[in-house]
């Protein structure tokens, strides 16, 4: 794992001292709320419905056990004993107080963590494939490059007051687990003529105007990547709209100017910027490569694993669902589900965090990952240890075998916490998970991604859910729109809106109609919901969705 050097330590220390001063100046009145707001946001601090919320960066989703234990300590000491893992590989503390935040930031710095640029109109925490370094289909560990981009974007003097937020995701694999087509910039590491570089995808994003990103450059060599990114952000900083925040994201800038014109401006800027990078970034890259070197994997006797797998159907089900193939045959990538049926998606108690830290230390080379799907990953577990890991997780209520299934729901905090939300998301997720668990249908339904957002900003990624749910406020009542066929992987698609929304108590029956329709129509159990949808199209699903008398009438009226 990357370790802070003296430079990183000194930087975070001075940054925390600055924020402590800013808090004092806000309290004294030297800073107005208007001035303080962007400063606190660029340090991860929101004011939500009930309290301040601190969003802490987990760079490219990687954590060690000491960091996880410190997060648990923070949850106990300054919050209400839990944390919420988010769709951008961050953790949020929902109940902090303004005057405590400088101390929390100092506690984070002790374990080489911070909350810098997790919000605000800045380049946000860089995310990466949560299976980085462990996946079988990877060219190179993307975290090496994500760390370089983290350092480049951190406190970048030109880019702290951008037109709007700017999100970057990196993957080193063919299979896209980092949703790179729905980011302002998505980077896919590729090899061309034995040289490593990146395919650059630009202008993707969800929110009010969802768009799938476009390729702006098929290949940018690694030593050009920072100046290229800087050129893109510099062009957008000047060209992006500042008169309307709903039109400020780079996707709109590109839509309004055309990708060819935008690309021409970037090339022009690149010619100016490239000579200012004289090579130390590449020296750093080779240092980072050492930091992310894979553990020395060994071969093991698997007879104990095989015996338990054959003999224990619960264990077998968990393995079949939550384990992903590791690049080394005797190892496994184990995903710990934070989606126990009926619980809040992405939440972990401080006790659970500590136990997971212990497990990482004992069984996963001291490494954990946070996935954008709000689960925790143990990236390198010997298969022989899986029975012990499973038993330990069961003891703390985290052995739910539902990864990729209907109850593995992404949900934003919604109106239970968020000041921007228009409806609640958490209770909808809880109810769907509980309902289909009671029916014992979820394994029969198979792979299905439900994603729920409590407002149009789409933190819950509803546009790329196979079933997406968007909570809105319709004349003072919560109302939920359903969209179908979204896909956040390497075959990206924005879901199609089905029609009029549903009241909170109508959502479960609506989802159930869709599921029953799918189960009846699928050609074989191996045909997934998404494949079935792509074969049949929106029409028949829509008919099934609105087939009750009451909702038929509403659909006709709309």
């Amino acid at each position: 794992m990357y370790k802070y050097n003296d430079f990183d330590h000194a930087f975070v220390t001075s940054r925390n001292a600055q924020f402590r001063e800013q808090v004092n100046r806000r309290i004294s009145g030297a800073l107005s709320e208007d001035e303080f707001k962007p400063l606190r946001l660029m340090n991860g601090l929101y004011l939500q419905l009930h309290a301040y919320m601190l969003r802490v960066a987990i760079p490219y989703g990687t954590l060690n056990s000491a960091q996880m234990r410190q997060l648990a300590m923070i949850a106990d000491r300054w919050d209400k004993g839990y944390g919420h893992f988010t769709t951008r590989q961050n953790i949020q503390f929902n109940w902090t107080k303004l005057q405590d935040v400088p101390d929390i930031l100092d506690a984070l710095a002790e374990v080489e963590m911070h909350a810098i640029q997790t919000s605000g109109n800045t380049i946000r925490n860089v995310t990466a494939d949560h299976f980085a370094g462990a996946a079988a289909d990877e060219i190179v560990d993307p975290r090496i490059y994500a760390e370089l981009i983290r350092q480049w974007s951190t406190d970048h003097p030109e880019f702290q007051f951008l037109p709007r937020k700017f999100k970057v995701a990196v993957t080193g694999a063919k299979q896209d687990r980092a949703v790179i087509h729905a980011h302002d910039i998505g980077l896919q590491i590729i090899e061309q003529n034995c040289i490593l570089g990146m395919r650059v995808i630009i202008g993707g994003g969800l929110g009010r105007t969802p768009m799938i990103g476009k390729v702006i450059r098929e290949f940018v060599a690694m030593d050009d990547i920072l100046p290229y990114l800087e050129s893109v952000v510099s062009v957008w900083n000047l060209l992006g709209r500042r008169d309307n925040k709903y039109k400020a994201r780079i996707k709109i800038t590109i839509h309004e100017n055309g990708i060819d014109e935008f690309s021409r401006l970037v090339d022009e800027r690149f010619a100016l910027i490239r000579p200012s990078f004289q090579g130390f970034d590449q020296t750093l890259l080779s240092e980072f490569s050492d930091a992310f070197i894979a553990p020395k994997f060994q071969r093991f006797d698997l007879s104990a694993f095989d015996a338990r797998y054959q003999g224990d159907p619960n264990f077998r089900s968990w393995v079949d669902t939550n384990i992903t193939a590791h690049k080394q045959a005797d190892y496994a990538i184990a995903t710990i589900s934070l989606k126990s049926h009926g619980e809040t998606p992405g939440d972990a108690s401080s006790a659970q965090m500590r136990r997971i830290a212990d497990l990482a230390e004992t069984y996963s080379y001291d490494e954990l990952r946070i996935s954008h799907e709000q689960n925790i990953v143990m990236p390198h577990v010997q298969k022989a240890h899986l029975p012990d890991v499973y038993d330990a997780l069961r003891a703390i209520g985290l052995a739910t075998g539902n990864i990729g299934l209907i109850s593995d729901i992404i949900a934003c905090p919604g109106m239970d916490y968020c000041a921007l939300a228009t409806a609640r998301s958490i209770p909808i997720a809880q109810n769907i998970a509980t309902h289909f668990d009671a029916l014992k249908l979820e394994h029969d339904i198979g792979p299905l991604k439900i994603k729920i957002s409590g407002c149009i900003n789409a933190c819950g990624h509803h546009h790329v859910g196979h079933i997406g749910i968007l909570g809105l406020d319709r004349a003072g009542i919560e109302n939920y729109q359903i969209m179908l066929g979204g896909d956040g992987t390497e075959t990206p698609a924005i879901g199609e809106r089905t029609g009029p929304g549903f009241g909170a108590d109508e959502v479960i029956p609506a989802i159930e109609r869709l599921i029953h329709f799918y189960l009846n129509e699928r050609l074989a159990p191996s045909e997934t919901f998404l494949e079935c949808y792509r074969r049949l199209g929106l029409g028949p699903f829509k008919t099934a969705l609105y087939e009750t008398e009451q909702s038929k009438a509403r659909a006709n009226a709309a």
Partner: protein
């Protein structure tokens, strides 16, 4: 009344400077005022004769001025660059790192944000990832 801020602290402008706007720019122009939407290519023929360019920040939340300063430096402007308007002390390091020499703010803003707050950020060349990443291998 305005106040100039640099690494030494606050000072009052010594003399009245007459700034011209881009539409009257000519080879005899010394000091130029530009706003955040200025097309910098229109200035390229004058960068050797201009001695002072002042970039206006209508709002501190509008960060275009930082990129304009950086681009002017990369285009070869070696004269004086001044950030003018609603710039807060928390942005002083950003301004200096982007290529500005100093900042000009209203007396009212300087009263609310006194000298100590600006001097607190005068060590702008320390802890700078950008300089570090750019240096030679």
């Amino acid at each position: 009344m305005t106040v100039i801020i640099n690494d030494e602290g606050l000072s009052t402008p010594e003399k009245e400077i007459t700034y011209e706007r881009a539409d009257t720019l000519n080879k005899a122009t010394c000091a130029l005022d530009i706003s955040a939407d200025q097309d910098l290519n229109a200035l390229s023929d004058y960068l050797e004769t201009l001695t002072l360019i002042r970039i206006e920040f209508a709002s501190f939340a509008d960060g275009r001025g930082f990129s304009l300063a950086r681009i002017l430096r990369l285009m070869g402007f070696s004269g004086h660059l001044r950030a003018y308007g609603h710039v807060i002390s928390d942005q002083y390091a950003m301004a200096r790192r982007s290529g500005f020499d100093d900042v000009e703010v209203s007396k009212a803003l300087a009263t609310r944000q006194p000298e100590a707050e600006w001097l607190f950020r005068s060590n702008w060349s320390a802890h700078d990832y950008q300089t570090r990443l750019r240096k030679s291998a």
